[in-house]
């Protein structure tokens, strides 16, 4: 083929024309995808086609992992079992207390006339793989829209919040972790109930509390949990621990770096909280003031 006919014979469309055509098409797709989100049907179609291949290629790793597990000696399993049993015994007291506290809380809330906290349905999912994307940190989990996963659902592990479902395919979905630059989560400091918003940090693998006054009462070691103000993340889920606080005299805001609590072990089992993603209603306008504060809109 290297010794093909000289270029004066027909070679089809020239390479430059094809380059122009395909790069224009690619840029067009990028712009449409980034700005309009109109390509989800095509993406889902390609994803469904690719799914059997993806699953097949996960098999070698899963086989290795299960073989390694099988080769675990009985001794280590017994030890692990003992440890887990001890842990369960320790937690039993807490669980019993927790039930009682929850009932008490519900009664008090009823007395106060507050809306009862809805218990979100959880769906246990397995992390299939982490995409090799260097620019963002995502996880792909093995449940999708056919299992009722909806984009926006919070994802937690046993340590705390991991992130949020950002894209749903029929069989799999993508989870963007909290430490991503574009992610944000309403939070509060456990020690004093200070409300704040945690954003993905500028340093990789960290979170940042922005817009806290330079003299805000935060110090390293404080635990941050979700505040539940957005109506999406249930309140009280651990978000992280403050690693350090930088207070610059020149700056009006403190720079608070938070180490995330969840998502450290990214190849395990996660839970998707299937909250109904009802966004809070927009604050009522002055002329049409509604006398039921905190009402949630049911549309969308």
């Amino acid at each position: 083929m290297e010794y093909g006919p000289p270029p004066l014979f027909n070679q089809g469309v020239s390479a430059r024309a094809r380059l122009a055509f395909f790069s224009f098409l690619a840029v067009l797709l990028i712009v449409i995808d980034a700005r309009v989100n109109a390509l989800d049907t095509i993406r889902i179609g390609v994803g469904v086609m690719l799914y059997p291949l993806q699953r097949a290629l996960l098999w070698p790793r899963d086989a290795l992992v299960s073989t390694a597990r099988y080769l675990n000696t009985v001794g280590s399993l017994t030890r692990e079992n003992e440890r887990l049993r001890e842990g369960a015994a320790e937690q039993a007291a807490q669980v019993l207390q927790d039930q009682q506290l929850r009932q008490e809380n519900n009664r008090l809330r009823q007395l106060q006339g507050l809306r009862e906290r809805t218990k979100a349905k959880t769906l246990t999912v397995q992390v299939l793989y982490e995409p090799r994307d260097r620019f963002t940190h995502k996880l792909v989990i093995d449940r999708g829209s056919s299992d009722g996963v909806v984009a926006g659902n919070p994802v937690i592990d046993e340590q705390g919040v991991v992130g949020q479902v950002t894209r749903v395919f029929p069989m799999v979905s993508e989870v963007t972790v909290l430490t991503e630059r574009d992610q944000s989560i309403p939070a509060e400091v456990v020690r004093n109930g200070l409300r704040c918003v945690a954003f993905g940090g500028s340093e990789p693998g960290t979170l940042e509390l922005r817009f806290l006054a330079a003299n805000a009462d935060v110090s390293s070691g404080d635990t941050i949990v979700t505040s539940g103000l957005d109506g999406l993340y249930p309140p009280g889920l651990p978000v992280g621990t403050i690693a350090r606080v930088e207070r610059d005299v020149k700056d009006q805001f403190a720079r608070v770096i938070v180490t995330p609590a969840g998502g450290v072990n990214t190849n395990g089992v996660l839970a998707v909280l299937q909250v109904t993603a009802a966004p809070l209603a927009a604050p009522p306008r002055e002329d049409t003031r509604d006398d039921r504060p905190g009402r949630r809109s049911s549309h969308r």
Binding site: M1, E2, G4, Q11, A15, R16, R18, L19, F22, S23, L25, A26, V27, L28, L29, I30, I32, D33, A34, L39, I42, R43, V46, G47, L50, L53, Q54, L57, L58, P60, R61, L128, Y129, E130, P131, R132, D133, R134, F135, T136, H137, K138, V140, R167, E174, E180, R181, D182, S202, E203, P204, T266, N267
Partner: protein, 194 residues
């Protein structure tokens, strides 16, 4: 295995040099025609290697990009930018990237390889890696540029550029594996010199 290795006598090299035949490995002997089935199988294998759950393991090169460069250099009229574009779309869906990001990167990669294919083949395989490295880098930088433009890149994205270096280092191996079916067994028959 020994049967398949191309063996060059000193006289043959000298003759090749004097007659102006490229010294690069693919031209040091006349290759058999490539089987289109083999091309598509290797490209699919490259895609499969990319789909393996590498996670965030460092230094894993983009195998599909290497395969595309190889076939664009060796068979530019069989594998072109259209194939690169379509493979790019598949990678976009798998990686959860913007739709068209890998497609753009692979299109540029493919164009570079096609534009350079006559030149690259004149060099020995090791020197060819030096041409492959900038091609792979341009592809990675293209997708980085897209991310920076759209505004979703983390600050340490440039660490991944090392992967292009690993890919270029793998070029001789890729070359050896993908050209293997086209090499002729050395014939001991004196009446058939090729």
């Amino acid at each position: 295995m020994k049967l398949w290795r191309p063996r060059r006598a000193d006289g043959e090299t000298a003759a090749a040099a004097s007659t102006g035949v490229p010294r690069g490995q693919p031209h040091s002997q006349v290759l058999r025609p490539v089987s289109p089935v083999f091309i598509w199988i290797t490209l699919a294998a490259g895609l499969a290697l990319d789909l393996l759950p590498w996670g965030r393991t460092p230094l894993v090169p983009d195998f599909l990009a290497l395969g595309l460069v190889f076939w664009n250099v060796h068979q530019p009229r069989r594998v072109g930018m259209g194939a690169a574009f379509l493979f790019g779309l598949l990678m976009d869906v798998h990686d959860g990237a913007l739709f068209g990001e890998h497609a753009l990167a692979y299109t540029l990669l493919s164009y570079g390889a096609i534009a350079l294919h006559r030149r690259i083949l004149w060099f020995p395989v090791i020197s060819q890696s030096l041409y492959v490295l900038p091609l792979l880098l341009v592809a990675q930088l293209a997708s980085a540029a897209v991310r920076l433009w759209v505004g979703g890149a983390s600050s340490n994205w440039w660490v991944g550029l090392v992967e292009s270096g690993v890919g270029a280092l793998l070029w001789p191996l890729v070359n050896w594996v993908l050209l293997a079916p086209q090499r002729r067994p050395i014939s001991r028959d004196q009446t058939r010199p090729l």
